[in-house]
Symmetry: C2
Amino acid sequence: MPNSPATKAAPPRRRRKEARPAELTAAALEVFVEKGYAATRLDDVAAQAGVSKGTLYLYFDSKEALFKAVVREGIVPALTEGEALVAGFKGNSEDLLRELATGMWQLIGAQRIGGIPKLVFAEARNFPEIAAFYQQEVIQRGTALIRSVIERGIKRKEFRKVDVAAVVHLVMAPVLMRMIWRHSIDCCAAAGVDDATYFDEYFGIMLRGLRAERKAS
Amino acid sequence: MPNSPATKAAPPRRRRKEARPAELTAAALEVFVEKGYAATRLDDVAAQAGVSKGTLYLYFDSKEALFKAVVREGIVPALTEGEALVAGFKGNSEDLLRELATGMWQLIGAQRIGGIPKLVFAEARNFPEIAAFYQQEVIQRGTALIRSVIERGIKRKEFRKVDVAAVVHLVMAPVLMRMIWRHSIDCCAAAGVDDATYFDEYFGIMLRGLRAERKAS
DNA sequence: ACGGTTAATGACTGAACGGTCATTAATTTA
DNA sequence: TAAATTAATGACCGTTCAGTCATTAACCGT
């Protein structure tokens, strides 16, 4: 039994004004993804970060502000990166879609932050402020990004003519559902299908489904 | 001002032992879908059904029991119907998949009960009992149902050889995501795409993606 | 009409949680 | 080293909610 006799001796306070915000959003991400928004207790976030609840309120005005910070830090940069990829891409649109989806999966889906979309979908109704925020900062940019890829493919005659708005959602759905499964019923191994196989089949179906038919000469 | 002078006169009690359970599950469905599981207050469910909270506990042991009753009443019968469709189907597998997906959408997705999957995905982590229940009674049967259709198609050489487990999830994803959108960020009109268009494009891509390539003679 | 049965009620309990603020102590400055 | 500054604390408040139970009243048989 180390640390005797007072095992519960209060650890010394540390003043670390600079490092706190990042530590707190990291801790918050952990707990939000684990518990959801409403069910996250700020005491738990504080404990996870090794500080008291009071300290949390020193850096963030409210639970909502804390959540927004987590999203801005974890998702928005990935979107910016995706936009850059699309803007500068030279090859065919199939490859672009592949790279974009794969990149987004690696940056978001496969990370802890990949638990956030589930949370937002789940609790949007109960927290309209958060829904509006996420709509603006993530969904609008995300769908615009996919749309630009689909339209590029159609314009270059690599993809069939399809209803772009619908297809944008169809392309995103399997990726989003993969994130959702991973963070809900069967943690980390949705029905025993590994990521590689899942994405292989995803591209196999999606790209065959989008490909412009080769007109018999 | 009708009903004067005591506008707040307590409405008379009514004893309706037979009708209550169905009324209560209907009210519960409404509130669960609106608020989610944890955020649903049993007082609200009772109010929605026009009874007091005490009455609710007369018919259901707990919130959990109430929720299970809602699922058993609203989703399980649709699965049974789907199983019957597949078991007796004579045509080709493309048409079977079409009918199954369309039928499930009409029976579940387009109804209020279509809000339940979102809720389960969202809160499975926090309520393991409910996750296990839903896994057993819905997910297992649902995935088995889709799997049987995919396998049928491959066996009859109507579909390509694919990784069945992965494709089962890929086929379900767009339908599930449609339900989720509908009950979260943009209520009832996911990004301005109507159901008909969405499902047209869904089948267009999925079936093209699954179809066995016609070997050049 | 009246007494017995039981469906229905709603005030109450105990636990939980977001947010506050007076107090404490680490660090800096003089 | 002593005073000033401010980061950090945690007890506390008001509110919310699942579940309980003593009381009330609707219905039924006689």
